[in-house]
Symmetry: C2
Subunit: 231 residues, 2 copies
């Protein structure tokens, strides 16, 4: 697989984020582009047609998933994955006292750490996977060219739930229970945030997989069926 970032502009962008000293957003338009630099040009069309889906892809790509509950030792709800690569001392300077959090929370946050570039690679991969779902909107020719240049291929109806292997329908993004979409971003290995390892899954499948790797999950449910006499 080629590096999707190779053909991209890569110019540093200004940010008002309080993490600016340790976090540098970049332009991901094609090299030699005209006009203004943009961080997520591949999401612009989705932002117009399906704003919440675009926001979800952006959020799941560059932020850690949030704590499911709120308390002093639960840690931040969502935080930049690349910030989680920094050491405790640096984080403390940004007001994040890792020593105050429970060890389990710290481990979870550190597991979700990923470089900014990996986060952007994941964002492009997820965007293509969304367009490749059944009933997805059509990408413009310009966008199709962008994906080709970054090493991805638009191929309608080719996106499956990474866990249960059933086709995913774009319209499931709309269904939400308790504010949570029926489609979730998932990781074959929950500790790896790379394009090869990330995809979409049904919410119920993702919940069932839990913190296991997909391989561990398959072995686990195989054992269940075996002991239940259902194999």
């Amino acid at each position: 697989m080629m590096d999707p970032l190779l053909p991209l502009c890569g110019k540093r962008l200004l940010t008002r984020s309080k993490y600016a000293p340790i976090y540098t957003p970049k332009c991901h338009r094609l090299k030699g582009h005209e006009g203004k630099c943009k961080e997520f040009p591949f999401l612009r069309e989705l932002e117009k047609s399906h704003f919440r889906v675009a926001q979800k892809i952006k959020r799941d790509s560059i932020m850690t998933t949030g704590a499911a509950w709120k308390s002093d030792d639960a840690g931040p709800n969502r935080i930049l994955r690349c910030v989680m690569l920094e050491d405790d001392l640096t984080l403390k300077r940004f007001g994040l006292n890792m020593a105050m959090l429970k060890p389990g929370i710290v481990a979870k946050l550190r597991d979700k750490a990923a470089s900014y570039d990996d986060c952007v690679r994941v964002a492009i991969a997820l965007t293509v996977k969304a367009y490749n779902m059944k009933s997805a909107p059509l990408a413009s020719q310009k966008l199709a060219t962008y994906f080709e240049a970054t090493g991805f291929t638009l191929e309608p109806n080719s996106t499956f739930c990474e866990i249960c292997r059933l086709p995913l329908d774009f319209r499931l993004f709309r269904n939400a229970r308790r504010g949570k979409a029926e489609i979730e971003t998932c990781h074959k290995d929950p500790r790896l945030h790379t394009p090869e390892n990330v995809g979409f899954a049904h919410r119920e499948c993702n919940i069932a997989q839990g913190p296991k790797t997909l391989d561990e999950f398959y072995s686990w449910i195989r054992g269940i069926l075996q002991r239940a006499g259902r194999l």
Copy 2:
């Protein structure tokens, strides 16, 4: 299976519950007992040795499981299962406006409705299952006699996770993450609250089963393994 309540006193107890007009706790000591009536005599020993386990059995038996989040339309956190048998008009008189809740919440609450007697039958069954776990405390001879009289048998190391069929260790009750025990009460059919249908399961197994019946769950994971080429 005999009715566990048959050999029991059954005398009505006074309650300060605001639901008193529609909820009558009873005495479940053996018929002809001496001394004071008691609602949960079979839990007294556990209350002394493992208070939280006893409380958990009582709570899971007679209350609905709580809403996982808090908002006006999320419904009550925990409520008596037998109160959920009453019609909307009656509930409104008790300050519970079902018409204000989302249809999904109402369905969930109604699914968990059960008669008071069924709740007590479940409580006895769960107590026996807890004593039958590996590393469980020993029940007194008096308590063993009580269980026999109600149709249950103490049989050490005979309690398995209802879902994955691995033996359950009593000490797992102590392990808690985010205040939630590693052992949960589970339902083979989530809509049936009867002794035959209720048991204990690992938290991760219970989460994976979700709102499915155990049969549906086994079929579902079988399909997953099939499509993933792991069968």
